[in-house]
């Protein structure tokens, strides 16, 4: 392989950090247990997890047993991972044939739901859409106030209920208003909840139920907000939230820190849930469509 090709292939990573040198030091080594252990360490440190890492390593072992680990190997592994993480709809959100399109947002406490909604609203607004927000977190202190501030900043309309009101009733009112105004998008915020809290998961199912009863085909997207600093628990979150509200994708937040968010590899392997967007800051513009290439490169950097 020409040196130039090689450079092209690793452009991202090479440019990014000198730490990639320790990856380069793998070149020319034999694929022995030590080598695989090192690879394992890298992936586990990025929160990919033991099981998902094992699956990847087994693929490498099969393909490269007793061969020399050249630049090919890493490219092979990265290509596998990129292919795995590819979103068939690549970054696009579903759109209902008639307004409104409803997006339901859920996730564990503090993962970044409300902020992600603000970012999503801004993004859709910038694309010329009218937006209505439904503040169905009636539990956490000042949750609706928080969303209201964001709504104002992005120029979106909002429906809220009283503190402690039934979230399903707020969802109901939000659907009514969305239908009456024929808005392009209704985005529904929900309270943070741990997936082990059965009664709260039922509550969420009820919200979804109301939405689908009020508006045909809705919610058109049910997005799970995962915190990139989370470890292996995110797998369980994805499983149980998916079961409960049939998630269609993931928003991976807080990728601007040092956490790699590698657990989404395991999430994809085990639940097939694709990442749609990533959050890279607290500002309203800090949302990007998920880019599997950049993401995989950063796992190894």
């Amino acid at each position: 392989m020409a040196f130039k090709d090689l450079l092209d292939r690793f452009k991202h990573g090479l440019a990014k950090t000198a730490r990639l040198f320790d990856v380069r030091s793998w070149f020319g080594r034999k694929v022995d247990q030590d080598f695989l252990d090192e690879l394992e360490a890298k992936l586990i440190r990025a929160d990919v997890g033991v099981k998902a890492t094992q699956i990847l390593i087994d693929r490498v072992r099969e393909a490269y047993a007793d061969k020399t680990a050249d630049e090919d190997l890493l490219a092979f592994l990265k290509a596998e991972m990129k292919a795995l993480l590819q979103d068939p709809q690549a970054g696009a959100l579903a759109k209902a044939p008639t307004n409104p399109t409803v997006i339901l947002i859920a996730g564990v406490n503090g993962s970044g739901k409300t902020t992600s909604i603000a970012k999503l609203a801004q993004r859709l607004k910038d694309q010329g859409n009218s937006i209505l927000l439904g503040a169905c977190d009636t539990f956490r202190a000042a949750a609706a106030d928080q969303l209201a501030i964001w709504a104002e900043r992005s120029g979106a309309d909002m429906v809220r209920g009283n503190a402690g009101a039934d979230p399903a009733s707020v969802a109901h009112d939000a659907c009514d208003r969305a239908l009456a105004r024929k808005v392009d998008y209704l985005i529904v915020d929900t309270a943070g909840r741990l997936h082990t809290q059965t009664h709260l998961m039922r509550e969420l199912e009820k919200v979804r139920g109301i939405i689908s009863r009020k508006i045909e085909g809705a919610p058109h997207e049910s997005l799970l907000v995962l915190d990139a600093t989370n470890g292996q628990n995110a797998i369980q979150q994805a499983r149980i939230f998916s079961k409960s509200i049939a998630c269609s994708g993931v928003i991976l937040t807080k990728l601007d820190g040092t956490a790699k968010g590698g657990v989404v590899v395991a999430v994809r392997q085990q639940t097939d849930l694709p990442v749609k967007f990533v959050g890279v800051g607290e500002g309203i513009d800090d949302l990007q469509p998920f880019d599997p290439d950049a993401f995989v490169e950063s796992l190894f950097s």
């Binding site: 956490r140 949750a143 082990t196 369980q236 040092t258």
Partner: protein, 500 residues
């Protein structure tokens, strides 16, 4: 206890004939299982590597203890070592003699600082202190409002300023003087969430520390955190010299390995754990419990949590007294079934009990919830007298009850018989601590003896044929034997010393 890891270890060691002594070679597979468990619990990779080295050195050369299996012995070593590394829980807060004691909370975005601020303040109230909270997060939309709401709920003052034209350092400083003026003796500073790599915001924290001189600085850490915990906790510790850590969101099924990472990288004690969103859900840190969780019995905690939510305290106390007196009857049992239903479906519950997981597959083809309903139906068809004293139920009563509930007469006698076994156990449980009960529950989960679920009809086998009465009898004997063994263990444990 240690069901998950125990299971894996016995698997790993089963393939070996470990004789005489534990050696690095014969433990290798077993230790690999331990390593996997810790990594899956999100303990940091480097921390795990170091830990494994330590444990291997400690275990190698140890003679095998005759009365326990090698896997149990290894788990014991691992467990003790983890407990030691986790350090003691230390829920005490040192209060200053003169002037208000100032506590600062810091951490990453969304870790639970503001909520924990309210929880700590509530705890202060309980200690007879007079807290004041300071809203020093001028960044996040409605952060001030959030803290104000918590202040109202607790009926304690909150110092807040209009974010325009002020900065967090000033807010904190004026908050402390405000406390002095109002005669408040404890000040809790709620700071904005920030990334440890955000130099500007980390400098701001350092500035607060320099200018306001908080007496205690606590790092609020999300228990769901993965490998990155060492990086963030390390950076906050380097910037601020932390005095303690508070782990939040431990009420779910997170294995909480971050606790060990954070403890290792900062060296400061974990003081409290957040066990829910409500302000009363702050517990002193218990190393025993978190180690158990890390090794894979975390779901039990979730189960207890679910039980807490569903159980009517008053009723629970009443039942407890009745159990202690040996008066627990089918009426009480029926109430427990109703409570259990509130906690979720039987399948959900089973999933939460280690050891019961495996029962999940046994339950294939059986609608567990319908079965529980059936049991309830049987009890409902009894007269109050029969419920108080099931032994009164003779053949003709049995027929009547069966007809009323739409089941076979032998289903009625089966329920009565198993109720007997359970009542005895329930009695001994009423004298145990909560933790012992949980342990017992998990042990029995395997045996399927304590839980209305245990009374379920034996599931159909793959052939669609029901178990023969003989097979059923055998299964029941096994269950009862396991129950007796655990009871005995518990008794011995109680004799051996005070409850943990």
């Amino acid at each position: 206890m240690f069901d998950d890891i125990q299971h894996r270890l016995s698997d790993a060691l089963g393939r070996f004939k470990v004789r005489g002594k534990l050696t690095e070679a014969n433990m290798q597979e077993g230790l690999r299982a331990v390593r996997t468990a810790l990594l899956e619990a999100d303990v940091n990779y480097e921390v795990v590597q170091r830990f494994m080295k330590r444990v291997t050195e400690k275990a190698a050369g140890q003679a095998l203890i005759k009365s326990v299996r090698p896997d149990q012995q290894i788990v014991k070593i691992v467990h003790d070592e983890l407990i030691e590394l986790m350090g003691e829980g230390d829920p005490h807060i040192r209060f200053e003699k003169a002037g208000p004691t100032v506590i600062m909370l810091c951490g990453l975005q969304g870790s639970g600082k503001t909520t924990t601020c309210g929880k700590l303040a509530r705890r202060m109230l309980g200690l007879g202190r007079k807290p004041l909270m300071v809203a020093a997060d001028l960044q996040r939309p409605a952060a001030i409002e959030q803290l104000k709401v918590l202040g109202q709920q607790l009926d304690i003052p909150v110092h807040a300023e209009d974010p325009e034209g002020t900065d967090p350092v000033e807010v904190c400083r004026r908050g402390v003087s405000q406390a002095e003026k109002l005669g408040r003796d404890t000040v809790i500073l709620d700071t904005a969430g920030r990334l440890h790599v955000d130099d500007e915001l980390m400098d701001q924290l350092k500035k607060i520390e320099k200018k306001v001189r908080p007496h205690q600085v606590y790092f609020v850490c999300d228990a769901l955190t993965g490998q990155d915990a060492v990086a963030s906790a390390g950076a906050f510790n380097a910037a601020l010299e932390l005095d303690g850590v508070i782990m939040t969101k431990l009420d779910g099924d997170a294995r909480g390995g971050a606790a060990l990472s954070v403890r290792q990288v900062t060296g400061v004690p974990i003081k409290f754990v957040g066990m829910g969103e409500k302000l009363e859900r702050l517990d002193p840190f218990d190393p025993q419990r978190i180690v158990g969780q890390m090794l894979g019995m975390g779901d039990i905690v979730g189960l207890v949590e679910a039980a807490k939510d569903a159980v009517d305290e008053e009723e629970a106390r009443r039942q407890q007294e009745r159990m202690a007196k040996g008066k627990f009857d089918l009426d009480d049992f029926r109430k427990q079934i109703v409570t259990m239903k509130k906690m979720g479906s039987v399948k959900d519950l089973m999933g939460k009990i280690p050891g019961m997981n495996q029962m999940g597959s046994m339950l294939e083809g059986v609608d567990a919830d319908a079965e529980v309903k059936r049991i309830q139906g049987i009890i409902d068809s009894m007269t109050p007298e029969e419920r108080r004293d099931p032994h009164k139920i003779d053949i003709s009563r049995r027929r009547r009850i069966a007809a009323g509930a739409g089941v076979e007469p032998q289903d009625v006698s089966g329920l009565v018989k198993q109720f007997d076994a359970m009542a005895a156990m329930v009695k001994s449980m009423s004298q145990m601590s909560m933790m012992d009960r949980v342990r017992m529950l998990s042990g029995l989960g395997k045996a399927g003896a304590f839980n209305p679920g245990a009374l379920l009809k034996t599931p159909k086998q793959g052939t669609g044929k029901r178990l023969t009465p003989k097979e059923r009898e055998r299964q029941k004997r096994l269950r009862e034997k396991e129950a007796r063994r655990i009871q005995k263990e518990m008794r011995e444990k109680r004799k051996g010393g005070p409850n943990p």
